[in-house]
Structure formats: structure tokens, C-alpha cells
């Protein structure tokens, strides 16, 4: 036999090429024509095949749409829950201008439907206890701003809100008995320009009638829109409800907002610190009486001075807190002319409100996205690492199989 030249070697190699059986070729052609239908096999095998045929790029759009829908749904749910929480917080933001032609609001509770707010933090209409504004949760604040007519409309709502609270009134009463509540209120009244000065004097009279304090006041005359008055008042918290009702009777209520803040915790803490400080002073005095040397006496006196200073500070803080609980701050404004059109407190929903709502929704959506990423990120990362490790393992196994 002659030596192997290249062309002969190639020819010999090509002659060794395996050829498929005609029956197999025909069967495969048939399957190709049918779009390679899946052959029988175990469900796991079919699942694996499907997984291998999975195309990540195609899944991007549905995955993105799903994620977007999830973020939108979560945003809606959170927004709705926030809204219901706000309602649950018993917030009465039904502020608004009085109805045209309503004119001056009358003092009669029956006509004005006003909400009385007694010293125990209890709202009432007339003699009916409707609503405990003194919520037992520390730090809870309620805002109630209303035109008298709007407040009247809100009464059924308040009844509805108050029912579950009233059921647990025993518990609430026990808690309320020990709570220190700071209250504040804002009131905007409307009147004719020539009545501004008279209305201002009625404000002074009302403040004095309730033994309140006028911290600051300014009254200006002028044309419609220019004439007006401003007051910064302190009213005993126990009589804030009645005082607000009388203030509301002075003119047309355009905005009314009341807020409460629970300051029980700082009050109690300061009281305890003061008691401790007094006990320390007692101890130091005993120590001073028993001191034998001048140096010992001097050291004890120095400690006593420092502790007395501390006790004085605590007393001051405590009395400040009690003053905040006993006296409510009231900002009262008298306007003349048409009600101001600012969306804040006017009851109308304006561009500012829209921007605020949009910002809030965006913030919620961003929060949901961040939480989602925080949850999904590690999962995706672990899955990616597992996939990469498996891929490397399979590649190595295939090389070993060839060898």
C-alpha cells in the first residue's frame, strides 16, 4: 500500500463518515416538518427543556410590566391605607368658607352645629358626647378645621368614628384620666370691613370672659380686603371648646382647625426626674449635716448647689409642660372681603394640592420600589450565582465527558 498523502487521507476520512439510516432520516424529516413536537418523557425532563428554551430577553417586557403593575398596586393600597389611617386618626379637615349667604354664624349649637371641646378632650354637640378627641396614643395629634356648616355635616361621620372608640370607653377613660394633652386652634373669621373693629373688641371680651390671655394683637382698618385683625391668644384648655364656639359666633367661620398633641410622656418623665432630684437633695442635706471636715462639707455643698439648679430647671420644665396642657394657643384672624382662595384650608383642591398629592404618590411608589428591590435583589443575586455556578459545573462535566 502506498504512503498516505493528504488527498488520500482526506478521501479515506470522508469515506468513514457515518451516515444516518434512511428510516431515521425520514422520521426526523417528518418531525422537522411538524415543528419538532415534544417527544414523550418525564415531566421533569419536559420542564427542564422548557427552562432551557426560556429566553430572558423576551421575559423582560412582561417582567417589567408585572413589576410596574405591582408597584402601582402597592402604591394604591398604601395610599388608601394612609387615607383610612388619616380618617382613623379622627381628623376633621372640613375647612372651608361658609356658604354664601350664610352670613354670620350664630352661637347657638343647634343652629351652628358646632363641636364643643371640653377640658377632658371630649367633643360634644350640645350635651351629647360624640367623640373622644383625646386619643390614648402618645404623640397622636388630631387636626380639626371646619366651617361651622361643614362641621355640622361631619357630625354623622364623627358618630361613626366614635362608636368603636366608645365601646372601649372604660379603658380610654382610665388612660385619659392621666394624660396631659396640649391643644391648639386656628380660626379665620370673615366679616364686613366696617365691622372689623367691633369684632376685634368682641374677641377681647371673649378672651377675658374665659380668663384667657392676649399674647399679641393687631387691628387694621381699611377697605374690603385690607381691613382685618390678628390675635395670638392663650385660652384655658378646659374651656377651649366653649371659647372657640364664642369666637366662631363673632363672624363667618372661614377656617377652623384644632390640633392636639399628647405630652403625657415628657410630663411624667420630668415629674419623675424632679422627684429623684428632690430625693437627692434630701440625701445631700443629710450628708451635709453629718459632714465632719470642712473639705467634706464643701464638696457636699457643691453637689447640693448643682442638684438644686437641676431641680429648678426640672421644675421650670414641668411647669412649662403643665402650662402647655392647661392653656391652649389660639391663632385667630379676622378677614374682610371675599374668602382667600388659597387651597390651604379653603376646602378646594388646587394645583398646590395636586403637586403635593403627586409628590406623595411618587414618594410611596419610590418606597415600594426600594423595598421591592431590597427583597428581590438578594434573591436575584443568589439565583444568578447559582445559575453561573451550575453553568460552570456543566461545562466542566462536559469537558470531562469528552475526555
Amino acid at each position: 500500500m502506498e504512503p498516505f498523502e493528504d488527498d488520500r487521507l482526506v478521501a479515506a476520512l470522508e469515506s468513514l463518515r457515518p451516515e444516518p439510516r434512511p428510516a431515521f432520516a425520514a422520521e426526523l424529516d417528518e418531525r422537522a416538518a411538524g415543528g419538532f413536537p415534544r417527544r414523550g418523557g418525564s415531566p421533569l425532563r419536559r420542564l427542564t427543556d422548557r427552562f432551557r428554551a426560556f429566553e430572558p430577553r423576551r421575559a423582560l417586557v412582561p417582567a417589567g410590566a408585572t413589576a410596574l403593575a405591582a408597584v402601582a398596586a402597592a402604591t394604591v393600597v398604601i395610599s388608601l391605607s394612609e387615607t383610612s389611617e388619616e380618617r382613623g386618626n379622627l381628623s376633621l379637615n372640613s375647612s372651608g368658607a361658609g356658604s354664601a349667604g350664610a352670613g354670620k354664624q350664630q352661637a347657638s349649637p343647634a343652629r351652628s352645629g358646632r363641636l364643643n371641646f371640653d377640658g377632658a378632650g371630649r367633643y360634644s354637640k350640645g350635651s351629647n358626647n360624640l367623640y373622644d378627641a383625646d386619643a390614648p396614643v402618645a404623640g397622636l395629634a388630631q387636626n380639626s378645621s371646619s366651617a361651622a356648616s361643614a362641621a355640622a355635616e361631619a357630625v354623622p361621620q364623627i358618630r361613626a368614628f366614635s362608636r368603636p372608640i366608645e365601646r372601649s370607653s372604660g379603658y380610654l377613660t382610665r388612660l385619659r384620666a392621666h394624660r396631659e394633652i396640649e391643644r391648639s386652634a386656628q380660626l379665620v373669621l370673615g366679616t364686613e370691613p366696617d365691622r372689623v373693629r367691633k369684632a376685634a373688641s368682641e374677641v377681647f371680651e371673649t378672651v377675658h370672659a374665659y380668663r384667657g390671655i392676649v399674647l399679641d394683637s393687631s387691628v387694621r382698618d381699611g377697605a374690603e380686603g385690607a381691613a382685618g385683625a390678628r390675635f395670638a391668644l392663650m385660652v384655658p384648655s378646659a374651656r377651649l371648646g366653649d371659647a372657640m364656639a364664642d369666637f366662631s359666633a363673632i363672624g363667618e367661620v372661614r377656617t377652623r382647625r384644632e390640633a392636639t398633641a399628647d405630652i403625657t410622656a415628657p410630663t411624667v418623665r420630668t415629674g419623675e426626674l424632679l422627684r429623684d432630684s428632690r430625693a437627692t437633695i434630701e440625701g445631700l442635706l443629710t450628708q451635709l449635716a453629718a459632714a465632719d471636715t470642712d473639705a467634706e462639707r464643701a464638696a457636699t455643698e457643691a453637689k447640693l448647689r448643682a442638684e438644686r439648679n437641676r431641680a429648678a430647671n426640672l421644675r421650670s420644665q414641668l411647669s412649662g409642660l403643665k402650662r402647655r396642657a392647661n392653656l391652649s394657643r389660639v391663632q385667630l384672624r379676622i378677614e374682610s372681603g371675599a374668602p382667600m382662595t388659597s387651597s390651604e384650608g379653603s376646602g378646594t383642591w388646587g394645583v398646590g394640592d395636586a403637586l403635593g398629592d403627586a409628590g406623595r404618590i411618587l414618594a410611596i411608589a419610590a418606597g415600594v420600589s426600594i423595598v421591592g428591590l431590597a427583597v428581590l435583589g438578594p434573591i436575584v443575586l443568589v439565583a444568578l450565582l447559582i445559575w453561573l455556578a451550575n453553568r460552570a459545573r456543566v461545562r466542566r462535566a462536559r469537558q470531562r465527558a469528552l475526555a
Binding site: 498516505f4 479515506a12 470522508e14 468513514l16 439510516r21 417527544r39
Partner: protein, 178 residues
């Protein structure tokens, strides 16, 4: 050879199927020959060939023309399927099927040709599996060096060098047999 297996859906929805059909028809026997040389079992080669085309068909939308010719892509899938079969066999049991009778003598062949075929077949069996695979890809499947490089996952020049080395080794083995 068509550079794409999937046409944009708006233009011609079935163009991708037509392109795959052309690829199938031009590659069916080549894929079988390559797979048979790897698994060395006719029945397993048929199964692996069918599996390879099935996988390729399912993944046809993932073919990226920028990464090589469709034939190279198809042979890459066939290679993985064949190696998976070898792995499965290695896990389950030793090879029990008979190796393909590569040196079966055609009726019209002369004695010298038969002897030459036998010598080449024996020399081929003595090569390393990697070298045998390169020769199968080149002479059984008819791939270019660039396509072989893509299938095996090495550089084109490296593929040429290794193929040349395998051929030299094969020739020396054949000459030794003569």
C-alpha cells in the same frame, strides 16, 4: 447560508421557520455524522441528533448572527447534547452499545481501499477524543476552521493549529500501520 434564523415578525412571520428548515436540510447528515463520531453508538447518535435539532428549534429565536454562522451555532448545540449523553452514560453505566462500525467494507471497494480505510479507522480510534472531535468536525461535518473554533470554544488560529497537529498525528499513525 442565511445569517438569521428569525425575521422580524412584522415582515414575514414564517421566515424564521423557513430559515431553520433550510439549516436543518443542509445540516441533518452532517450533525448525525459528527454526533455519531462522538458518542460512537448509532442508536444514541440518532437520539442525540433528534434532541439537538429539537433544542435548536426551540432556541432558534435566541440565535445571534453576530456570534457566528448558524451552522456553528447548531453544531454547538449538538456538541452539548452529545456530551450530555456521554455524561449520562458515564453516570449510569459503562458503554454497553457496540461502537459504530466505521470500517465496514462497502461491496464495491478494492482490497487496498479496504485496507486503507481500516488503517485510518484504527489510527482515528487511537487519537485523543479532542483530536478526533476536530477531525470529525472538519471532515465529517464539513465545518471551516472558524466554525470549528466557535463550536469547540477556542480561537480560530488555535483551531487550525490543533487540527493540523491532529492530522499529522493521524497520518503518522496510518503510515506506521502501513
Amino acid at each position: 447560508m442565511d445569517a438569521t434564523l428569525v425575521a422580524p415578525a412584522k415582515e414575514a412571520p414564517r421566515e424564521g421557520d423557513l430559515a431553520f428548515d433550510r439549516l436543518y436540510k443542509s445540516s441533518r447528515d452532517d450533525v448525525y455524522a459528527y454526533v455519531a463520531s462522538l458518542v460512537r453508538d448509532a442508536a444514541a447518535a440518532e437520539d442525540v441528533t433528534a434532541t439537538a435539532f429539537e433544542r435548536a428549534y426551540r432556541k432558534r429565536s435566541r440565535f445571534d448572527p453576530s456570534r457566528g454562522e448558524p451552522r456553528a451555532w447548531l453544531f454547538g448545540i449538538a456538541r452539548n447534547a452529545a456530551l450530555d449523553e456521554l455524561r449520562r452514560r458515564g453516570r449510569q453505566a459503562e458503554l454497553t452499545a457496540e461502537p459504530a462500525d466505521l470500517a465496514a467494507v462497502p461491496a464495491h471497494e478494492s482490497a487496498e481501499e479496504s485496507e486503507r480505510r481500516l488503517a485510518v479507522s484504527t489510527a482515528l480510534a487511537g487519537l485523543d477524543p479532542g483530536e478526533r472531535e476536530l477531525i470529525a468536525l472538519k471532515f465529517f461535518a464539513g465545518l471551516s476552521n472558524a466554525e470549528i473554533a466557535i463550536v469547540v470554544g477556542i480561537g480560530a488560529s488555535n483551531a487550525g493549529t490543533r487540527l493540523h497537529r491532529a492530522m499529522t498525528k493521524l497520518r503518522e499513525a496510518c503510515d506506521g500501520a502501513v
